[in-house]
């Protein structure tokens, strides 16, 4: 066991435990805070994959923006679900069994697939995460220009839709 493996196992344990608490804890506000810890663990997993850029993007986008939005929504809609009483619906047993079966099947396939046993070595910086090449590939018409533009149109549409849904148009007209 190398040091990196031990570090990975610790990070994975923290992430999975806090993810379990996200889906099981009673108070929705606590679930949102556990979600932040879980996303932080995922950012550290990106760092162990030598993907420092995506670790930073994860912290900025997920922890900085998305979890702030979620906590905002939790605080706005707080008085609906009182923190006592059941937080899961009647079919939770079926959901638990289904998730466990999916996990067992996926792990069984992954443990028998020999390519998945490849040990990830440290890749040299030339072949690694090259931000300049990523930026050039995103604006190259032979590369990923169209997916990039589609993603920006999607973000614009989401922006317009979010404003349209939350703004109270009828009330502001009268």
């Amino acid at each position: 066991m190398t040091t990196l493996q031990i570090v990975f196992l610790i990070i994975a344990a923290i992430t999975l435990v806090s993810a379990c608490l996200v889906v099981m804890t009673r108070k929705i506000m606590h679930a949102a805070l556990w979600l932040v810890l879980s996303l932080m663990g995922v950012a550290m997993v990106y760092a162990t994959l030598q993907s420092g850029f995506y670790a930073v993007v994860q912290v900025l986008v997920y922890i900085g923006a998305i979890s702030t939005l979620i906590i905002f929504a939790v605080m706005m809609t707080r008085n609906v679900m009182e923190d006592v009483g059941p937080q899961s619906n009647r079919g939770w047993g079926l959901a638990l069994v289904g998730s466990l079966i999916l996990f067992a099947g996926t792990s069984a396939i992954l443990l028998t697939w020999d390519k998945a046993q490849t040990v990830l070595q440290e890749i040299p910086a030339v072949n690694g995460e090259n931000i300049q090449m990523l930026g050039l590939a995103l604006v190259d018409p032979m590369g990923f220009l169209i997916p990039f533009e589609v993603a920006s149109v999607l973000l614009l549409a989401a922006l317009v839709a979010a404003i349209f849904l939350t703004a109270d148009i009828k009330r502001s007209r009268s």
């Binding site: 990975f8 889906v23 949102a32 997920y62 939005l69 979620i70 706005m76 999916l102």
Partner: protein, 106 residues
């Protein structure tokens, strides 16, 4: 160093936890949290395979990174629209329990 299967099994576990959250929670905001966990596990998979291909082919690989960037954009859009829908439903019905929001009429 770390075998590829560790990352894949870790991301499968995260995906299944998120799936359980989506299927079992009553509160719509908690369902969105489960979706976030599932999207994160997909990005872990993509970056693990990016590392694997960059190591096997001995060349820089850009496609998995672009996929990961697009997942980030989709996740941001999905959260914004989802929370806007929840807040809009909360304004009209004072209720965000997913099983109670069963009418299409506004």
């Amino acid at each position: 160093m770390i075998p590829l299967s560790w990352y894949l099994i870790f991301s499968a576990a995260l995906f299944c936890i998120g799936l359980y959250g989506v299927l079992s929670r009553k509160n719509s905001v908690a369902i969105l949290m489960g979706v976030e966990l599932m999207l994160n596990s997909c990005t872990i998979n993509l970056l693990a395979f990016w590392h694997y291909y960059a190591q096997v082919r001995q060349a820089p690989q850009m496609s998995p990174l672009v996929f990961a960037a697009i997942i980030f954009a989709v996740a941001a859009a999905e959260t914004a629209v989802g929370l806007a829908l929840i807040i809009s439903a909360y304004r009209k019905r004072q209720n965000i329990i997913a099983s109670d929001l069963d009418e299409l009429k506004g």
